[in-house]
Symmetry: C2
Subunit: 110 residues, 2 copies
């Protein structure tokens, strides 16, 4: 059967989620957290982002369910909430690869 079209309101919500990932800094944070739980300070060191900036991005990521956090004394330890984020990035990268290949084919007509 044909696909049911999406409601306008749902589209807005989905767009908002994509917007969270539409930011190099946030992708960097997610990539840095890929295999390890880290504190904010550790992230500051690892990413070279400002502390306030980082903290705000972490709030956004958390509010949208991309990272989970855990209070540990005076520290806050962040980790990615699920692997599907990376699946999204992988698909995007796949698109980039395909385009790059197509480009090469156009340029080098051998």
């Amino acid at each position: 059967m044909p696909h049911a079209h999406l409601d306008a309101q749902l589209l807005t919500i989905i767009a908002a989620r994509f917007k969270v990932l539409a930011e190099p800094a946030r992708l960097l944070i997610l990539d840095t957290l890929r295999d390890a739980e880290m504190t904010v300070t550790e992230l500051v060191d690892a990413t070279a982002l400002g502390q306030a900036n980082l903290s705000k991005h972490l709030q956004v990521l958390h509010a949208n369910g991309f990272v989970k956090r855990r209070k540990d004394g005076q520290f806050t330890r962040y980790a990615v909430a699920g692997r599907d984020v990376f699946r999204l990035c992988d698909i995007m990268c796949g698109r980039l690869d395909a385009e790059a290949a197509a480009h090469r084919k156009l340029v080098r007509v051998r």
Copy 2:
């Protein structure tokens, strides 16, 4: 083996791609084009977006490889370039479903 971390420049490119999808209007366009090739005017009717606005969004979608276009006389017929866009949306929707379910579980403690 552990995953290789992504280059900052690549992250910027990926973010730019996500940004294209971070817009309800563009998602609406893609959804409208899901199963059919359409002209700009048809899209204006189907989406209730302004013509100029629509045309600009189509340029963005095309520049980023999400739609392909075909000149047909004085018409320009647009179509989705690949199905992977919908895979991206499906993953996002899956996330939303999971959160909704978790919410219900929290609210209705039965």
